[in-house]
């Protein structure tokens, strides 16, 4: 038996000679067209799990294994999150392949996750043979029906002649406009049928034409508005990352001399140490970012969608602000918040248009505005009460930040650890921050890190909690099997911490079903999977464990036993506005009495 992580050399010896690319007009079965389609779209790595209805495609994949690497996950949910991690860290389309029925229903969470976070994915699912569709056949599910609301578009391929066109369209839809997941469901008999292979040169979708360039009149209106107000702020979201508009964003903030706040999905799009950067805004955003939004007279929203976790209660959202909103998705404009100047278009293109249309002049000083901002920054920074006995979660994140300097790709799961990571991890560039923003999917972190690690020479960090980790823990096997450099840090507080925090704050500490016990032993779990397991229980042990973890090759699990009942602050409670955020009472003891 090969030891975990070791390459099976027997298999390498049985590899067929290098596979040949298909030529136009060549007769082949549908299964090979699927593989050729992937190759034509530049895919060289996919995540998947085989099964009955997708057998023909896996057979063709085997013949092309010198050109496409397949990562065998341990659960289909892991395949989709891994494809998401790959897509978000590389900017390319992530691909997952699964079988019919349960294989396909297991991808639903990942599809909805990618839908809400605008991640480009193509998922290929096998379907029962055409004659069995609708007969409640073995491993049959109405997969296009189930996935219709959680994909950007989906296909049921009914004719082998359609496969090439559908594959071409699927990749185009996934990566263009507002990116998203596309599912292609192919009955088994269709993958077995033969036809001549022709790869379409272009996509013909007359009803699908995303707007890239902003309307000139709207851009002019935006320029006029920008020139009018002192207290301005840029609110940047995931669209900046998706369109690669980081440079334009930086230029705009410098030329206007305005502060920048980023959403959870936008983290990394602006240099974290820059004096104009206020950190994340929203429910667990910084005091300065939230107060700046509240007091602003002008908000320039770029590639963000005024999510409820960002705005707080809408009736108290930025009451003095005029709003410019740039987004490629017209439905995001005026959906939650009415804006003065909506601009439909790609963030990078529209920001470039704005930069060209702005008058040439020195950046305005905005002295009073910056005075206010600096006072908020200095009076109410991120802070916590230190504890010599137990590892405070924030201390863990400070140590991680100082050790890594934000240079590694980091994925998170969902909950308290995710919010602390968002507050403290200084991701030094875009595409180094992988998190489940819109859907809040526990279980995302490990497979997402795994997907990113397939393309990273550096370690990929997965910050998780003792709750989230166990939702896709089976992917440890994949990480070890593939020899991936994933460093898992379990913020282990023996609780489902975020739910516990709400029960503490809003349900009189009635802790209903949030206790996890210190179980299982993650160090032993690591060893059982063939990974390295480490544990830190005291503050004095933490740094050494982190250093050892990063110095150990391959997959490492660092079980960090943290203070059990720490809470994430600042916090905007449900129904409150940005100006009503609650600061940590252990640190800001007189917060309520202080003049704001």
């Amino acid at each position: 038996m090969p030891s975990p992580g070791q390459v099976n050399t027997d298999l390498a010896e049985t590899l067929p000679p290098r596979s040949q690319a298909a030529v136009e007009g060549e007769s082949m079965r549908g299964a090979r067209i699927v593989i050729e389609g992937l190759l034509r779209e530049g895919v060289d790595l996919i995540f998947g799990y085989p099964g009955g209805a997708i057998l023909h495609v896996y057979d063709e994949l085997h013949k092309a294994q010198d050109r496409i690497r397949h990562i065998l996950v341990r659960h289909e949910q892991g395949a989709v999150h891994a494809a998401e991690g790959f897509a978000r860290s590389t900017g390319r389309v992530g691909v997952a392949m699964v079988t019919s029925g349960p294989g396909a229903t297991n991808v639903v969470t990942g599809l909805q996750n990618a839908m809400m976070d605008s991640t480009p994915l193509v998922v290929i699912s096998g379907q029962v043979v055409s004659s069995l569709i609708g007969t409640d056949g073995f491993q049959e599910a109405d997969v296009v029906g189930i996935t219709r609301p959680c994909t950007k578009y989906n296909y049921l391929v009914k004719d082998v002649k359609d496969i090439a066109r559908v594959m071409k369209e699927a990749f185009h839809l996934a990566r263009s406009g507002r990116p998203g997941p596309v599912l292609v469901d192919i009955p088994k008999d269709i993958t077995a049928m033969e036809t001549e292979f022709y790869w379409p040169e272009s996509v013909n979708l007359p009803s699908y034409k995303p707007t890239i360039r902003g309307h000139n009149l709207q851009v002019k209106k935006a320029v006029d508005l920008i020139g009018t107000f002192e207290r301005a702020i840029i609110y940047a979201g995931g669209g900046v990352v998706a369109s690669g508009a980081e440079q334009e964003l930086y230029e705009l903030s410098s030329r206007l001399n305005v502060p920048v706040t980023a959403t959870l999905m936008g983290l990394g799009c602006y240099p974290p140490g820059d004096p104009r950067y206020l950190g994340m805004l929203g429910m667990h955003g910084t005091y300065s970012a939230n107060m700046a939004m509240y007091e602003s007279e002008l908000i320039i929203a770029v590639g963000a969608r005024f999510d409820d976790r960002v705005t707080g209660v809408l009736s108290k959202f930025a009451p003095k602000a005029h709003k410019i909103h740039i987004d490629i998705d017209p439905t995001s404009l005026n959906k939650n918040v009415q804006v003065d100047v909506p601009i439909v278009g790609d963030a990078k293109t529209v920001l470039r248009q704005l930069l060209e249309a702005l008058p040439e002049q020195a950046p305005p000083p905005r002295e009073t505005w910056w005075q206010e901002l600096r006072s908020w920054l200095s009076r109410y920074p991120l802070a916590y009460k230190k504890d010599p006995e137990s590892i405070k979660p924030q201390f863990l994140f400070e140590e991680l930040a100082s050790l890594t300097q934000g240079k590694y790709i980091l994925s998170t799961d969902v909950g308290q650890h995710q919010m602390w990571a968002a507050q403290y991890y200084p991701a030094d560039s875009s595409r180094k921050w992988l998190t489940s923003g819109g859907l809040g999917t526990m279980g995302y972190g490990l497979p997402a890190a795994m997907g990113a690690a397939t393309r990273s020479d550096e370690p990929v960090v997965c910050i998780t909690g003792d709750g989230s980790f166990q939702m896709c823990i089976q992917e440890l096997a994949t990480c070890v099997h593939e020899g991936l450099n994933v460093k898992v840090i379990v913020m282990n507080n023996n609780f489902l911490g975020m739910v516990r925090q709400w029960q503490e704050m809003f349900y009189s500490r009635r802790y209903s079903e949030v206790g996890m016990k210190y179980f299982p032993d993650f160090k032993l779990i690591a060893e059982a999977y063939g990974a390295t397991g480490l544990r830190a229980e005291k503050p004095s042990e933490l740094r050494a464990v982190l250093e050892q973890g990063f110095a150990t090759p391959g997959t490492v699990i660092m079980d960090v036993i943290v203070h059990k009942e720490s809470n994430v602050f600042p916090m905007i409670p449900a129904g409150a506005g940005h100006n009503e955020l609650v600061m940590d009472p252990e640190v800001f003891t007189d917060f309520d009495k202080e003049p704001k």
Binding site: G145, R148, Y153, S207, T331, N334
Partner: protein
């Protein structure tokens, strides 16, 4: 007719699942479809969906944008004001066994431009088309005679030639 009622005309690719996307969009986002009519157009590859829904201006803006975002939707028109005509079809079996009743029914049918499709000594099957209001009026007129059975279609609507931007 409520002020919040909106007529939306959608040109969509005529293929399986596309109507489900439209209907699913409404149910999934908490909007309601009050009526729905769908058929192919002069181009058999495209279908026209005419539906009515309720909501304030923001809701209708969001509905039309969401419909436009559907990959296989070509055009969405929010039909407003008097730039369009709107018709629904009503088929009804009405009791008219006395000469006086038959006179009443005949007058009502003539007034609304309807026609008799079938009859026997006891009852008449009539067809009436018109706006929602006109059909309501007709049914009100014949109610004393006795409406035995009735079916009405969803309204279909089309822009008048002068304002017609919705050619297929």
């Amino acid at each position: 007719m409520s002020d919040n009622r909106h007529l939306i005309s959608i040109l969509v690719e005529n293929s399986p699942g596309e109507l489900a996307r439209i209907v699913g969009l409404f149910s999934g986002r908490g909007f309601n479809i009050d009526s729905l009519a769908v058929n192919t157009t002069t181009d058999p590859e495209r279908s026209r969906v005419v539906l009515t829904t309720q909501g304030d201006a923001r809701v209708v803006e969001q509905i039309t944008k969401q419909l436009n975002k559907l990959v296989k939707v070509y055009k969405v028109h929010h039909l407003q004001g008097d730039g369009h005509v709107e018709r629904e079809l009503c088929l009804a079996t009405i009791r008219a066994s006395t000469p006086a009743a038959r006179d009443d029914l005949e007058r009502s049918v003539r007034l609304t431009g309807g026609k008799v499709l079938s009859f026997n000594r006891e009852q008449f099957l009539v067809e009436v088309s018109g706006t929602e209001y006109e059909i309501d009026q007709f049914l009100e007129m014949v109610r004393p005679l006795g409406v035995r059975n009735m079916v009405r279609s969803a309204p279909v609507a089309i822009a008048k030639p002068s304002d017609d931007k919705s050619e297929d």
